[in-house]
Amino acid sequence: MSSGEVIPAGLDVAAANEPGKAKASGDILGFWVFLMSDAVIFALLFATYGVMLSRTAGGPTPAATYKMAPAFIETLLLLTSSFTFGMASVAMKHGASRRQMLGWMAVTLLLGAAFLGLELHDFATMFGAGAFPTRSGYLSAFFALVPLHGLHVLAGGLWMVVMMIQLMTFGLDARVKVNIQRLGLFWHFLDIVWIAIFSVVYLQGLIR
Protein backbone atom coordinates (compact mmCIF):
# COMPACT_ATOMS: atom_id res chain seq x y z
CA MET A 1 0.00 0.00 0.00
CA SER A 2 2.94 2.35 -0.49
CA SER A 3 2.07 5.59 -2.20
CA GLY A 4 4.04 7.34 -4.93
CA GLU A 5 3.99 4.42 -7.37
CA VAL A 6 2.59 4.59 -10.87
CA ILE A 7 -1.05 3.56 -10.60
CA PRO A 8 -4.07 4.47 -12.69
CA ALA A 9 -6.54 6.99 -11.42
CA GLY A 10 -9.58 5.59 -9.68
CA LEU A 11 -9.44 3.98 -6.30
CA ASP A 12 -6.30 1.84 -6.37
CA VAL A 13 -7.67 -1.55 -5.40
CA ALA A 14 -5.04 -3.73 -7.10
CA ALA A 15 -2.19 -2.23 -5.12
CA ALA A 16 -1.72 -5.41 -3.10
CA ASN A 17 -0.89 -7.79 -5.97
CA GLU A 18 2.11 -6.53 -7.88
CA PRO A 19 2.25 -8.91 -10.93
CA GLY A 20 -1.24 -8.15 -12.24
CA LYS A 21 -0.84 -4.47 -11.64
CA ALA A 22 0.61 -3.28 -14.95
CA LYS A 23 -2.09 -5.12 -16.89
CA ALA A 24 -4.83 -3.86 -14.59
CA SER A 25 -3.73 -0.25 -15.01
CA GLY A 26 -3.74 -0.68 -18.82
CA ASP A 27 -7.26 -2.11 -18.66
CA ILE A 28 -8.45 0.83 -16.62
CA LEU A 29 -6.79 3.42 -18.87
CA GLY A 30 -8.53 1.81 -21.87
CA PHE A 31 -11.85 2.26 -20.12
CA TRP A 32 -11.01 5.93 -19.52
CA VAL A 33 -10.58 6.32 -23.30
CA PHE A 34 -14.10 4.93 -23.77
CA LEU A 35 -15.50 7.28 -21.11
CA MET A 36 -13.91 10.31 -22.75
CA SER A 37 -15.29 9.39 -26.19
CA ASP A 38 -18.70 8.99 -24.56
CA ALA A 39 -18.20 12.45 -23.08
CA VAL A 40 -17.67 13.81 -26.62
CA ILE A 41 -21.03 12.33 -27.71
CA PHE A 42 -22.78 14.00 -24.79
CA ALA A 43 -20.96 17.29 -25.40
CA LEU A 44 -22.20 17.42 -28.99
CA LEU A 45 -25.76 16.63 -27.91
CA PHE A 46 -25.41 19.55 -25.46
CA ALA A 47 -24.26 21.77 -28.34
CA THR A 48 -27.29 20.65 -30.40
CA TYR A 49 -29.55 21.39 -27.43
CA GLY A 50 -28.03 24.86 -27.08
CA VAL A 51 -28.67 25.60 -30.75
CA MET A 52 -32.24 24.26 -30.63
CA LEU A 53 -33.18 25.82 -27.28
CA SER A 54 -35.10 28.77 -28.72
CA ARG A 55 -36.76 26.73 -31.48
CA THR A 56 -40.00 25.86 -29.71
CA ALA A 57 -42.26 26.18 -32.79
CA GLY A 58 -45.01 27.68 -30.68
CA GLY A 59 -45.06 24.57 -28.46
CA PRO A 60 -44.09 24.11 -24.80
CA THR A 61 -41.17 26.29 -23.65
CA PRO A 62 -38.38 25.10 -21.30
CA ALA A 63 -39.71 27.26 -18.46
CA ALA A 64 -43.19 25.75 -18.82
CA THR A 65 -41.91 22.18 -19.22
CA TYR A 66 -39.41 21.72 -16.36
CA LYS A 67 -40.19 21.27 -12.68
CA MET A 68 -37.51 22.15 -10.17
CA ALA A 69 -38.39 19.79 -7.31
CA PRO A 70 -38.14 16.48 -9.25
CA ALA A 71 -34.90 17.64 -10.90
CA PHE A 72 -33.44 18.41 -7.46
CA ILE A 73 -34.50 15.05 -6.00
CA GLU A 74 -33.10 13.19 -9.05
CA THR A 75 -29.82 15.05 -8.59
CA LEU A 76 -29.58 14.06 -4.93
CA LEU A 77 -30.48 10.42 -5.69
CA LEU A 78 -27.75 10.12 -8.31
CA LEU A 79 -25.21 11.97 -6.19
CA THR A 80 -25.89 9.72 -3.19
CA SER A 81 -25.65 6.61 -5.39
CA SER A 82 -22.22 7.80 -6.51
CA PHE A 83 -21.19 8.08 -2.86
CA THR A 84 -22.53 4.63 -1.95
CA PHE A 85 -20.66 3.07 -4.87
CA GLY A 86 -17.56 4.83 -3.57
CA MET A 87 -18.17 3.06 -0.25
CA ALA A 88 -18.40 -0.27 -2.13
CA SER A 89 -15.02 0.50 -3.76
CA VAL A 90 -13.49 1.28 -0.37
CA ALA A 91 -14.92 -1.98 1.00
CA MET A 92 -13.37 -3.85 -1.94
CA LYS A 93 -9.97 -2.19 -1.55
CA HIS A 94 -9.71 -2.85 2.17
CA GLY A 95 -10.89 -6.44 2.10
CA ALA A 96 -14.23 -5.98 3.81
CA SER A 97 -16.65 -8.89 3.75
CA ARG A 98 -18.35 -9.74 0.50
CA ARG A 99 -21.70 -9.11 2.12
CA GLN A 100 -20.71 -5.52 2.93
CA MET A 101 -19.72 -4.89 -0.71
CA LEU A 102 -22.93 -6.44 -1.99
CA GLY A 103 -24.87 -4.27 0.45
CA TRP A 104 -23.36 -1.02 -0.81
CA MET A 105 -23.86 -2.13 -4.43
CA ALA A 106 -27.50 -3.00 -3.73
CA VAL A 107 -28.07 0.44 -2.18
CA THR A 108 -26.47 2.03 -5.27
CA LEU A 109 -28.68 -0.05 -7.54
CA LEU A 110 -31.82 0.96 -5.62
CA LEU A 111 -30.90 4.66 -5.78
CA GLY A 112 -30.26 4.31 -9.53
CA ALA A 113 -33.64 2.60 -9.98
CA ALA A 114 -35.38 5.35 -7.99
CA PHE A 115 -33.68 7.94 -10.22
CA LEU A 116 -34.89 6.15 -13.37
CA GLY A 117 -38.42 5.82 -11.99
CA LEU A 118 -38.60 9.52 -11.19
CA GLU A 119 -37.17 10.44 -14.59
CA LEU A 120 -39.72 8.26 -16.40
CA HIS A 121 -42.46 9.90 -14.36
CA ASP A 122 -41.09 13.30 -15.48
CA PHE A 123 -41.19 12.25 -19.11
CA ALA A 124 -44.75 10.91 -18.71
CA THR A 125 -45.79 14.28 -17.23
CA MET A 126 -44.15 16.06 -20.17
CA PHE A 127 -45.97 13.82 -22.65
CA GLY A 128 -49.22 14.52 -20.84
CA ALA A 129 -48.59 18.26 -21.30
CA GLY A 130 -48.09 17.77 -25.04
CA ALA A 131 -44.28 17.93 -24.94
CA PHE A 132 -43.44 15.17 -27.45
CA PRO A 133 -40.06 14.73 -29.16
CA THR A 134 -41.75 15.47 -32.49
CA ARG A 135 -43.39 18.69 -31.26
CA SER A 136 -40.44 21.04 -31.89
CA GLY A 137 -36.71 21.18 -32.54
CA TYR A 138 -36.18 22.08 -28.91
CA LEU A 139 -38.04 18.99 -27.66
CA SER A 140 -36.24 16.74 -30.18
CA ALA A 141 -32.92 17.94 -28.81
CA PHE A 142 -34.12 17.49 -25.22
CA PHE A 143 -35.29 13.92 -25.84
CA ALA A 144 -32.05 13.07 -27.64
CA LEU A 145 -29.93 14.27 -24.72
CA VAL A 146 -31.66 13.49 -21.41
CA PRO A 147 -33.06 9.99 -22.14
CA LEU A 148 -29.65 8.99 -23.55
CA HIS A 149 -28.25 9.66 -20.08
CA GLY A 150 -31.16 7.65 -18.65
CA LEU A 151 -30.27 4.74 -20.95
CA HIS A 152 -26.69 4.92 -19.69
CA VAL A 153 -27.97 4.71 -16.11
CA LEU A 154 -30.12 1.72 -17.10
CA ALA A 155 -27.09 0.03 -18.68
CA GLY A 156 -25.06 0.81 -15.56
CA GLY A 157 -27.80 -0.74 -13.42
CA LEU A 158 -27.84 -3.94 -15.48
CA TRP A 159 -24.05 -4.05 -15.30
CA MET A 160 -24.33 -3.63 -11.52
CA VAL A 161 -26.65 -6.67 -11.32
CA VAL A 162 -24.21 -8.70 -13.44
CA MET A 163 -21.27 -7.71 -11.22
CA MET A 164 -23.21 -8.58 -8.06
CA ILE A 165 -23.95 -12.05 -9.48
CA GLN A 166 -20.29 -12.49 -10.53
CA LEU A 167 -19.17 -11.38 -7.09
CA MET A 168 -21.43 -13.99 -5.49
CA THR A 169 -20.39 -16.73 -7.96
CA PHE A 170 -16.65 -16.19 -8.48
CA GLY A 171 -15.75 -14.19 -5.40
CA LEU A 172 -13.35 -11.28 -5.64
CA ASP A 173 -10.86 -12.55 -8.26
CA ALA A 174 -8.71 -10.22 -10.39
CA ARG A 175 -11.17 -10.07 -13.29
CA VAL A 176 -14.16 -9.25 -11.11
CA LYS A 177 -12.08 -6.61 -9.31
CA VAL A 178 -11.10 -4.84 -12.54
CA ASN A 179 -14.67 -4.94 -13.83
CA ILE A 180 -16.07 -3.49 -10.62
CA GLN A 181 -13.44 -0.75 -10.84
CA ARG A 182 -14.57 0.01 -14.40
CA LEU A 183 -18.21 0.02 -13.33
CA GLY A 184 -17.28 2.50 -10.60
CA LEU A 185 -15.65 4.84 -13.13
CA PHE A 186 -18.71 4.50 -15.40
CA TRP A 187 -21.12 5.25 -12.55
CA HIS A 188 -19.21 8.34 -11.34
CA PHE A 189 -18.91 9.50 -14.96
CA LEU A 190 -22.71 9.30 -15.44
CA ASP A 191 -23.16 11.45 -12.38
CA ILE A 192 -20.73 13.99 -13.85
CA VAL A 193 -22.80 14.10 -17.07
CA TRP A 194 -25.86 14.70 -14.91
CA ILE A 195 -24.19 17.80 -13.38
CA ALA A 196 -24.10 19.25 -16.90
CA ILE A 197 -27.72 18.19 -17.52
CA PHE A 198 -29.20 19.76 -14.38
CA SER A 199 -27.16 22.95 -14.90
CA VAL A 200 -27.48 23.45 -18.66
CA VAL A 201 -30.91 21.90 -19.26
CA TYR A 202 -33.03 22.19 -16.12
CA LEU A 203 -31.64 25.21 -14.28
CA GLN A 204 -30.98 27.25 -17.44
CA GLY A 205 -34.55 26.55 -18.55
CA LEU A 206 -35.99 27.64 -15.20
CA ILE A 207 -34.09 30.95 -14.95
CA ARG A 208 -36.56 33.77 -15.37
Partner: protein
Protein backbone atom coordinates in the same frame (compact mmCIF):
# COMPACT_ATOMS: atom_id res chain seq x y z
CA UNK B 1 -2.81 -3.40 10.43
CA UNK B 2 -2.65 0.08 11.93
CA UNK B 3 -1.60 1.66 8.63
CA UNK B 4 -4.31 -0.26 6.77
CA UNK B 5 -6.96 1.13 9.12
CA UNK B 6 -5.73 4.70 8.66
CA UNK B 7 -5.51 4.11 4.88
CA UNK B 8 -9.15 3.10 4.88
CA UNK B 9 -10.08 6.08 7.00
CA UNK B 10 -8.38 8.39 4.49
CA UNK B 11 -10.20 6.78 1.53
CA UNK B 12 -13.57 7.08 3.25
CA UNK B 13 -12.71 10.65 4.20
CA UNK B 14 -12.12 11.54 0.52
CA UNK B 15 -15.58 10.29 -0.47
CA UNK B 16 -17.26 12.03 2.48
CA UNK B 17 -15.51 15.32 1.65
CA UNK B 18 -16.44 14.99 -2.02
CA UNK B 19 -20.05 14.17 -1.15
CA UNK B 20 -20.35 17.14 1.22
CA UNK B 21 -18.87 19.57 -1.30
CA UNK B 22 -21.07 18.19 -4.11
CA UNK B 23 -24.25 18.54 -2.02
CA UNK B 24 -23.30 22.11 -1.07
CA UNK B 25 -22.51 23.11 -4.68
CA UNK B 26 -25.69 21.48 -6.00
CA UNK B 27 -27.78 23.17 -3.32
CA UNK B 28 -26.20 26.53 -4.10
CA UNK B 29 -26.95 26.17 -7.83
CA UNK B 30 -30.60 25.24 -7.25
CA UNK B 31 -31.00 27.97 -4.60
CA UNK B 32 -29.58 30.59 -7.00
CA UNK B 33 -32.40 29.77 -9.45
CA UNK B 34 -35.17 29.07 -6.90
CA UNK B 35 -34.71 32.37 -5.05
CA UNK B 36 -33.37 34.31 -8.00
CA UNK B 37 -31.87 37.63 -6.97
CA UNK B 38 -29.56 38.46 -9.90
CA UNK B 39 -30.33 39.21 -13.53
CA UNK B 40 -30.93 36.17 -15.77
CA UNK B 41 -27.48 36.27 -17.42
CA UNK B 42 -25.68 36.63 -14.06
CA UNK B 43 -27.66 33.72 -12.61
CA UNK B 44 -26.76 31.56 -15.61
CA UNK B 45 -23.10 32.42 -15.16
CA UNK B 46 -23.33 31.51 -11.45
CA UNK B 47 -24.99 28.16 -12.24
CA UNK B 48 -22.43 27.27 -14.92
CA UNK B 49 -19.56 28.38 -12.68
CA UNK B 50 -20.83 26.19 -9.82
CA UNK B 51 -21.16 23.27 -12.27
CA UNK B 52 -17.52 23.67 -13.35
CA UNK B 53 -16.35 23.73 -9.72
CA UNK B 54 -18.42 20.64 -8.99
CA UNK B 55 -16.89 18.91 -12.03
CA UNK B 56 -13.44 19.42 -10.58
CA UNK B 57 -14.62 18.24 -7.13
CA UNK B 58 -16.05 15.02 -8.64
CA UNK B 59 -12.87 14.26 -10.59
CA UNK B 60 -10.72 14.97 -7.56
CA UNK B 61 -12.62 13.11 -4.82
CA UNK B 62 -14.72 10.46 -6.64
CA UNK B 63 -12.51 9.57 -9.61
CA UNK B 64 -9.25 10.22 -7.74
CA UNK B 65 -7.68 12.20 -10.55
CA UNK B 66 -5.16 14.64 -9.13
CA UNK B 67 -1.88 16.30 -10.01
CA UNK B 68 0.30 13.47 -8.67
CA UNK B 69 2.48 11.52 -11.09
CA UNK B 70 0.38 8.40 -10.62
CA UNK B 71 -2.62 9.77 -12.48
CA UNK B 72 -0.71 11.85 -15.01
CA UNK B 73 -1.77 9.62 -17.97
CA UNK B 74 -5.41 10.04 -17.07
CA UNK B 75 -5.00 13.76 -16.60
CA UNK B 76 -3.51 14.18 -20.10
CA UNK B 77 -6.32 12.08 -21.55
CA UNK B 78 -8.95 14.16 -19.75
CA UNK B 79 -7.35 17.50 -20.70
CA UNK B 80 -7.10 16.42 -24.35
CA UNK B 81 -10.78 15.40 -24.31
CA UNK B 82 -11.66 18.76 -22.76
CA UNK B 83 -9.80 20.49 -25.61
CA UNK B 84 -11.66 18.44 -28.25
CA UNK B 85 -15.00 19.09 -26.54
CA UNK B 86 -14.31 22.82 -26.20
CA UNK B 87 -13.39 23.10 -29.91
CA UNK B 88 -16.39 21.13 -31.15
CA UNK B 89 -18.99 22.66 -28.83
CA UNK B 90 -17.85 26.26 -29.18
CA UNK B 91 -17.40 25.79 -32.95
CA UNK B 92 -20.94 24.42 -33.28
CA UNK B 93 -22.43 27.23 -31.24
CA UNK B 94 -20.50 30.03 -32.99
CA UNK B 95 -21.25 28.80 -36.51
CA UNK B 96 -24.91 28.02 -35.97
CA UNK B 97 -25.73 31.18 -34.00
CA UNK B 98 -23.93 33.20 -36.66
CA UNK B 99 -25.91 31.42 -39.37
CA UNK B 100 -29.16 32.10 -37.53
CA UNK B 101 -28.32 35.80 -37.28
CA UNK B 102 -27.59 36.00 -41.00
CA UNK B 103 -30.86 34.32 -41.90
CA UNK B 104 -32.97 36.66 -39.76
Amino acid sequence: MKTLASDKHRDVQAYVTGYGLAVALTGAAFAAVRWQTFAASTTLAVVLGLALVQLVVRFRFFLHVNLSRSSRDNLWLILFSVLIIALMVSGTLVILFNLRQRMM
